[in-house]
Symmetry: C2
Subunit: 268 residues, 2 copies
C-alpha cells in the first residue's frame, strides 16, 4: 500500500504515531525522513512480544471491563501493557475498537467477548497470513477456548472485589450459555450487579490465562492441555471433517446446546 | 498514553504512518513537528468515514476470503477501501489481525467470522467509549446480525464464481449452525470446495450489507429493519432483562439451538 500526502496532511493533522515532539529537535528531521521512507507499509502481524506479568494484566483487565466491557478489557489490558513495555507499533492500534465484542458482540450474547478480545490479541502477537504461524495462533486460541468451556471460572479474584463470586463451568464459549449457567449456580439474575462483577472477574481470568499461554509460547513451551471430551470426539467422528456425514465443523462442546440427541439420531 | 523516544526510534525504525517521504521536503519539518506535537495520542474510535460502493467492497471481500478467510475478508475490504479513499488513520491498522475470526474464531465455529469482522469495522467507524455512539454502533450491528439470521443467504454473486451457490436461512449467527443449515439445503459436505465457495459469497454478502448500513448511517438514514421474531420476543419476555426469570441475555434466535423447549418448561 502506498501512502499519499493526502494521508499525511489531512485537515491540518498528521497521523505520526509512535513519536513525541519533546524528544525531537529539528536537526533530527533527516533521520525522520529516512524513517518515513523505511516505513511506508502498515506493520502486519505478528507484532513483537515481551513476556508480561499475568497478575498485573488480569487486574488491568478487570478494571477495563468496567470501562469498555469484556472484549475491550482483555484486549486493552494486553496491548496496553505491551505499549508500556515495547512502545510502537502497539501505540498505533485503537483498542477502543474492541468494545464491539461486549456481551457476545454488541450485547447479542454470541461468542464471549473476553474470548473474542483474547483471540484477536493472540493473533496480533503470534499469527500471520503464512500457514505455520496462523496454525500456531489458532492452536493457542483453541487451548484458551477449551479451557474456558471445561474449567470452573472465574478463577481470578481482583484486589478489591465488589462482591464475592462463585464459580461455574460454562460448557460453551457463548456469552448466552456461559451467563445462564453461572446464573443457575449463583442463583442471581442475568442483569444483576453480581453477574456484571462475575464477568469482570472472568475478563481478568481470560486475560491471565491468555498471557500465561503467550508467555509459554515466547519460551517455546506452549502445549495444549485441554482436549475435547470423549463425548465431543464421538460426535465429531461422524459429523466433522472426514466423517460419514461431515455436515458441520468446529470445536464447541456439542452438549452445551444439543441437550439430548434428536429422536431420529441413530443409536450411538 | 504518552509516547516515548523508545517508541519513536525502535531498532532504527520509526513508525510514522500516513506519511510519504516522496511528498515531503525538509522545509516541511516545522509543520511535521507541530503535527507530531498535536498527535501524541492513539486515534481512538470513531474514525472518519466516506460512503463506499457496496458492490466494489463485496467483490473485494469475496477475494479477501480466499486470502485470509471470512473475518479478514469483510474487515479488510472495508478498511482497505477507506485506506484508498481517506488514507490515514486507516493506514495504521493491521487488517491481518482479523484473520483470527476465521471459521467462527480459529475454526472453532462459534460466531460467524464475516459478522465478527463486520462488527469490528462498524465499531471502528461509528462507535465510541461514549454511550450514545456505542449504542448507535450496537444498533447497526444488531440489524446486521438479525438480517443474517433471517434472510436467505448468500445474496452476493461474485463476478467469476467457482460454483453456483444455493441460498439458505441460518437462523443463527454461529458458523457451526450456519454451515450445517446450508449443507443440508445444498446437499454437500462441510469441508467441500462448494461450502468454501459459499462462505466466500457470504463474506461478500455481509460486507455489502454492512456498507449499505454504514452509508445509510452516514446519510442520517439508518433504521433497523429486521426485528426479532414473535417467538423470540415471547422467550425474552420471561428470560431476558426484566422478565420473571431473567436468567439469560442476548438476541440470538432461540429456536436455532433450542429445537424444542425442555420437558419441564411450563405451558406457553
Amino acid at each position: 500500500m502506498k501512502l499519499s500526502r493526502r494521508g499525511l496532511l489531512k485537515e491540518g493533522g498528521v497521523f505520526l504515531l509512535g513519536a513525541t515532539a519533546a524528544g525531537l529537535s529539528f536537526s533530527r528531521s533527516g533521520e525522520l525522513m529516512s524513517a518515513v521512507a523505511a516505513n511506508q507499509e502498515t506493520m502486519e502481524v505478528p507484532w513483537p512480544y515481551k513476556k508480561l506479568n499475568p497478575e498485573v494484566v488480569a487486574e488491568k483487565a478487570y478494571h477495563g471491563y468496567y470501562k469498555g466491557a469484556c472484549c475491550y478489557g482483555v484486549f486493552d489490558s494486553i496491548v496496553g501493557e505491551l505499549r508500556r513495555e515495547i512502545g510502537a507499533p502497539y501505540t498505533t492500534i485503537p483498542t477502543s475498537m474492541m468494545i464491539f465484542g461486549e456481551g457476545g458482540v454488541a450485547g447479542i450474547a454470541s461468542v464471549c467477548g473476553a474470548l473474542n478480545g483474547a483471540a484477536a490479541a493472540i493473533f496480533l502477537i503470534t499469527g500471520s497470513m503464512e500457514k505455520e504461524k496462523r496454525e500456531l495462533a489458532f492452536s493457542i486460541t483453541k487451548e484458551l477456548f477449551n479451557w474456558y468451556e471445561q474449567v470452573p471460572l472465574p478463577d481470578y479474584r481482583p484486589s478489591k472485589p465488589k462482591f464475592e463470586i462463585v464459580k461455574s463451568i460454562s460448557r460453551s464459549n457463548l456469552c448466552h450459555a456461559s451467563v445462564s449457567n453461572w446464573c443457575k449456580v449463583a442463583k442471581v439474575k442475568a442483569f444483576s450487579k453480581e453477574r456484571s462483577e462475575r464477568c469482570g472477574w472472568l475478563t481478568g481470568s481470560v486475560a491471565k490465562y491468555t498471557v500465561e499461554l503467550l508467555n509459554a509460547n515466547a519460551e517455546g513451551n506452549f502445549k495444549a492441555i485441554h482436549k475435547l471430551s470423549k463425548e465431543v470426539q464421538s460426535c465429531r467422528s461422524c459429523h466433522d471433517k472426514g466423517g460419514a456425514i461431515e455436515n458441520t465443523r468446529g470445536m464447541m462442546d456439542c452438549g452445551g446446546c444439543h441437550f439430548r440427541a434428536p429422536s431420529k439420531h441413530p443409536k450411538i
